[in-house]
C-alpha cells in the first residue's frame, strides 16, 4: 500500500473539457494541424500538456464511440495544437471538421518524455518519423530551457516535410530526410541519424513507426546511448482502465504484466521494449 491514501487519486478536475476548433488545415497530404481553444471547466483551466503526453479527442458522432488519442504537438495560451494523420474513418472525420466546431477532449494523459534525462548531456537528438515529429515539437520547446544542451532534430517524412519552420525556431539544428528523396537526405530518419553519427554525450528521443523505433533501439543499444521512444497503439479507453493498448517490456514473462501504452507510456525506454512479440 502506498503512503498516500487511496482517496488521494480522485481528481474530479480531470475528465471532460470542451474545446473549440479555431484552425484546421492540411499541412501535407493526409496530415492535418488542428488548433483547439480549450475552455475552463468550472474555473479549472485545462492542464498544460507535458512533452510526450497525448489527448483523447471524442468525435461528434454517436456511432464512433472511442476517443482518438492524439499527441500534444504544441501548447500556448489555452491553445492546443494537434497534428494528426487522416488515416481512418474517425480521423478523416476530424480532418473535415470546420473551424468553430466544438469537441469534447480529455485532459492530457500518459507519461511523456523524461526531459531530466537531457540534463548534463551535451546534446539531445530528437528523431521523428512522419507524424512522429508532432510530439517532438513540444519536447524541443521544453529542452530549450536546458541552456547547455544543444537540440538537434532529425526528421523523416514520406515525401512532404511539415512543421519544419517550427522545429527550426526551437532547435539548434534540423536535418530532414524523405523516403523518395524529394527533400533532404534520401532515406528515413534512422538512416540519416546513423549517417550524422552520434557521440557519448548524446541523448535520443524518438517517435515514429514501430519499425523505425526498433532500428533506433538496436542502434542506441549498440552505441550505449540512452533512448526514449514514444509508442503508438490502438487504444480503448485511453486512460488506463481497459488494458487495450498493451506494450511488452523486458521481464514481462516473469511479472506477467504488460505495460499500458496510454498510462505507463506512451514513452518508454528503448532498451526495455520487446519489439518482436
Amino acid at each position: 500500500m502506498s503512503e498516500t491514501s487511496a482517496r488521494d487519486i480522485l481528481r474530479p478536475e480531470l475528465g471532460d473539457f470542451f474545446a473549440e476548433i479555431v484552425r484546421n488545415e492540411e499541412v501535407a497530404a493526409y496530415v492535418y494541424r488542428m488548433i483547439l481553444l480549450i475552455n475552463d471547466k468550472a474555473g479549472t483551466p485545462y492542464p498544460a500538456p507535458l512533452p510526450g503526453q497525448f489527448v483523447n479527442v471524442y468525435l461528434n458522432d454517436a456511432g464512433r464511440l472511442l476517443p482518438r488519442p492524439i499527441s500534444a504537438c504544441d501548447w500556448s495560451n489555452e491553445r492546443l495544437t494537434l497534428v494528426f494523420g487522416a488515416v481512418g474513418a474517425g480521423t478523416r472525420q476530424m480532418a473535415a471538421y470546420a473551424e468553430g466546431t466544438r469537441l469534447r477532449v480529455g485532459a492530457p494523459e500518459g507519461c511523456g518524455f523524461d526531459t531530466g534525462a537531457a540534463r548534463g548531456m551535451n546534446r539531445a537528438i530528437l528523431v521523428g518519423g512522419g507524424l512522429g515529429a508532432a510530439p517532438l515539437l513540444l519536447l524541443a520547446d521544453a529542452l530549450r530551457g536546458y541552456g547547455s544542451c544543444a537540440v538537434r532534430a532529425v526528421l523523416g517524412f514520406g515525401s512532404e516535410p511539415f512543421l519544419l519552420r517550427e522545429f527550426e525556431e526551437r532547435c539548434d539544428e534540423v536535418f530532414v530526410a524523405t523516403d523518395d528523396g524529394s527533400a533532404g537526405f534520401h532515406g528515413n530518419a534512422a538512416d540519416l541519424l546513423k549517417e550524422l553519427s552520434v557521440s557519448g554525450g548524446d541523448s535520443l528521443f524518438a517517435c515514429g513507426p514501430a519499425p523505425m523505433l526498433r532500428v533506433l533501439s538496436r542502434f542506441a543499444g549498440g552505441q550505449g546511448i540512452p533512448l526514449q521512444v514514444s509508442l503508438e497503439e490502438r487504444m480503448g479507453c485511453g486512460y488506463g482502465a481497459c488494458l487495450g493498448c498493451a506494450c511488452t517490456v523486458a521481464g514481462a514473462e516473469e511479472t506477467a504484466l504488460r505495460r499500458r501504452v496510454c498510462r505507463d507510456g506512451p514513452v518508454f525506454n528503448g532498451s526495455e521494449v520487446i519489439w518482436d512479440v
Partner: protein
C-alpha cells in the same frame, strides 16, 4: 414531482446503495478513481482474475465498430495473489465504509483453475464472486464453458463447493437459448446471474486486407448490442428464480431503467466507461432523475412484472 426515489436494492443477502455497478474489464480502481468517486456506486466489479498471472493477447486488442467496439484483451491480469495483495486493499481503502460492494470476476482455463482462483478469492475481502464462463477471447475456458449447459453446470458445481460468498455466474449471449444455461447453473447453486457478456465478432481492415485484431475475433460491446442484451435479460428473468444483473450497451440512465423494467435486480455499466470515465456515476444520477420525474418510488417499481 414526487419525493426522492429510494435507489437501494438487496439480493443474495447483501444490500446495495443503488443498482448501478461497473461491468468487469472496464473498471480499474486506480484509474477510474481519478475521475469519479466509485464508492458511490452500488458495487464495483473487477477485471477477471485467474489463479496465476495471465499476459493476455497480442495487440491490436481493440477495434471500433459502428455504435460499438470489439475487444480481445484475453483477460490479462496479475493473478489472484497479487490482486489480493495490491489491488483489493486499495479498493477497500477507497470505498471505506460507504457500503459499496466489491465483486471479483473469476477466470480460468479449466475447472481446476476456476476452483483454485475461486478458493483464493473467496477467502479474500470481497463481497461476491462473479464466475466468468463467457469470455470469448481465450482459447480454453471462458466461452467454451458458458456455451454448453453441461459444462456450465459442472464448473458452477466445482466452484460452488469452495465458495462461501454469494456466487454470480456471468453468461454469454453466444448460445441458442440462454435460459437453458441459466437454469443449468441455477440448479448447481448459482446465487445470481449477470448477462450479457460480449457477442463474438470480427473486423477486417480493408486497406491492409487483414483481420484488424491480432486475435482475429473479439467481443462486441456497446450500444450496438443493447437490444440483444435487453431481450436476453427479459427472458432469463422469467426463466429462473435467482436475481439477474443486466448489462450490455447501457449508455444512459434511461438505458439502465429499461434493464430494470425488463426485470434485472441491478445493472452494470461497461463500454460507456471507456468513452466517458465517469459514466457509471453519471448514469446512476440520471437513473435517479428519471425515477424522480416519473414518480417511481423505488427500483422494484420499475419492473414490468413477470406474470
Amino acid at each position: 414531482m414526487s419525493d426522492e426515489p429510494y435507489l437501494g436494492v438487496a439480493f443474495c443477502g447483501l444490500t446495495f446503495n443503488n443498482p448501478v455497478f461497473t461491468a468487469s474489464g472496464t473498471f480499474s480502481a486506480r484509474e477510474s478513481g481519478r475521475f469519479y468517486d466509485f464508492a458511490k456506486l452500488g458495487a464495483v466489479t473487477t477485471k477477471g482474475v485467474s489463479a496465476r498471472p495471465w499476459l493476455g493477447n497480442n495487440t491490436p486488442r481493440i477495434a471500433e465498430t459502428r455504435s460499438g467496439m470489439l475487444n480481445a484483451i484475453g483477460l490479462e491480469n496479475p493473478g489472484a495473489d497479487r490482486f489480493i495483495a495490491e489491488e483489493l486493499p486499495f479498493i477497500r481503502e477507497y470505498i471505506g465504509d460507504s457500503g459499496a460492494r466489491v465483486i471479483v470476476n473469476v477466470a480460468g482455463h479449466d475447472a481446476d483453475e476456476y476452483r483454485e482462483a475461486a478458493e483464493k478469492l473467496d477467502g479474500a475481502d470481497v463481497d461476491m464472486l462473479e464466475l466468468n464462463i463467457s469470455c470469448p477471447n481465450i482459447r480454453e475456458g471462458g466461452l467454451a464453458f458458458g456455451a454448453d449447459p453441461r459444462m456450465a453446470a459442472e464448473v458452477t458445481r466445482v466452484v460452488r463447493r469452495v465458495a462461501r460468498k454469494p456466487l454470480i455466474v456471468k453468461l454469454t449471449p453466444n448460445v441458442t437459448d440462454i435460459t437453458e444455461i441459466a437454469r443449468a447453473v441455477e440448479s448447481e447453486g448459482a446465487d445470481a446471474l449477470s448477462l450479457i457478456n460480449t457477442l463474438v465478432g470480427m473486423s477486417i481492415d480493408a486497406d491492409r486486407r487483414a483481420p484488424l485484431l491480432a486475435n482475429v475475433s473479439g467481443g462486441l460491446s456497446g450500444p450496438a448490442i443493447k437490444p440483444v442484451a435487453l431481450h436476453m435479460v427479459y427472458r432469463t428473468v422469467r426463466a429462473v428464480r435467482i436475481p439477474v444483473i443486466g448489462m450490455g450497451g447501457i449508455m444512459s440512465g434511461v438505458d439502465a431503467a429499461e434493464f430494470l423494467m425488463a426485470g434485472a435486480s441491478a445493472v452494470a455499466v461497461g463500454t460507456a466507461s471507456l468513452i466517458k470515465p465517469s459514466a457509471p456515476l453519471d448514469i446512476c444520477a440520471e437513473l435517479e432523475t428519471f425515477m424522480a420525474e416519473r414518480g417511481y418510488a423505488n427500483v422494484a417499481s420499475l419492473s414490468l412484472g413477470t406474470n
